[in-house]
Symmetry: C2
Subunit: 199 residues, 2 copies
DNA sequence: CCACTCATGTACCACTTGGTACATGAACCA
DNA sequence: TGGTTCATGTACCAAGTGGTACATGAGTGG
């Protein structure tokens, strides 16, 4: 998700610059309930410019949601073959908390049908599963179907624990819980470590 | 969470009646970005009444968040000593999806600091852990500290999978993933089933 | 019957909202 | 130089916002 931060530094066209600034603002204190004027003031422009470059308020929100979603995908793309513990170290880094707050804010808005966020839901699960399933399959020697189940569980655990982390701030405690899950998964990969499932 | 539905039927005082109606509305299509007048129209009253009975818009939102949170706690209270699979059957029931969408909507809003939702975060984790840890401790013979770690993981898995479920609607697929987690946990309770952790 | 409280409706307030009209400036190309 | 395009600022609009003032019932206890 830290591509977003990077993105904020490489922007030439005004629209890109505004989008990057809006994204940065979105990560600090939310964006969904800001007015165009509030947002414009916060990022040093006028609401006129936001409308000029994004057409409408919804166009702006859509663009932001899309950018977040794109940053996500970029993040996923480079996750292949990394180890679970390092992954958690990465995602639980306080530097990423603002981006993750924004992610869950948009997720929540999308769940209640806010316009411009539909794409969010359809890309919330599958791309992540597809991104990490191959690594699991390769490293644990699981068939594709099982690896996808494992990947889906890993995504859920990570998100659930991130919700915990963002609510409590207790990085150490949550990390300990994550470590427990990883040991389960590792032992589960060796099918003799627990009773084999017939599902 | 289905206490909320129940709550909607037992309301005599006008404030309670309005709150129940607002809650019901909140579960169908969100509430955070509705105006008082929109909401009033949707639940068959006037924005004047909402202000009269809740003092302000924020008072209303706070009351709704509090009610959701209270319903949560009520739900938690009767979770003791229930089995994980039954728990998942319960939470994944499509009847509860609206309530869960509302839960995640409020969670997201609380994460970005929306006023009136602070209580949400402070009660998002600990009460749940405290509610189910004793059952885990008892049934698996774990010391309290370990049982709380397990409980925290269980809460995270459930929420992560609910996010998946609400985004995809794929109840069967997500249930299968949950089943995988349950088997991990069950084997983990027997400490010889995986290498013992020294954390 | 009167006084009082609770609930509700009507009308209004100042302010903000998303969006538009229009002028202006800067850059570039003829 | 003049025309054209992109970016931006100023001013405005109708509509909607949260909130308030005030009148009016409905019910209740004296």
């Amino acid at each position: 998700m830290n591509q977003m931060v990077h993105l904020a530094m490489t922007a030439s066209q005004p629209r890109e610059r505004l989008l990057a600034a809006a994204l940065e603002q979105a990560m600090h204190g939310g964006i969904a309930d800001m007015s165009l004027r509030e947002l414009a003031r916060a990022i040093g422009t006028s609401h006129r410019m936001l409308l000029y470059h994004f057409g409408s308020r919804e166009g702006l929100l859509t663009a932001v949601a899309f950018a977040v979603e794109e940053a996500q995908r970029a993040e996923v793309a480079q996750l292949v073959a990394v180890d679970a513990r390092r992954l958690w170290q990465h995602f639980s880094d306080p530097l990423l908390w603002p981006a993750e707050r924004l992610f869950f804010e948009l997720y929540g808005q999308a769940l209640v049908g806010r316009p411009g966020t539909e794409e969010f839901l359809s890309n919330a699960i599958e791309p992540w599963v597809s991104a990490i399933a191959p690594a699991i399959s390769r490293e644990a020697g699981l068939d594709e179907r099982t690896a996808r189940l494992e990947a889906r569980l890993a995504v859920a655990v990570t998100r659930g624990l991130l919700l915990d982390l963002l609510a409590t701030g207790d990085r150490q405690g949550v990390t300990e819980v994550f470590e427990r899950y990883v040991r389960y998964a590792e032992s589960g990969y060796r099918p003799d470590a627990h009773q084999p499932g017939q599902s």
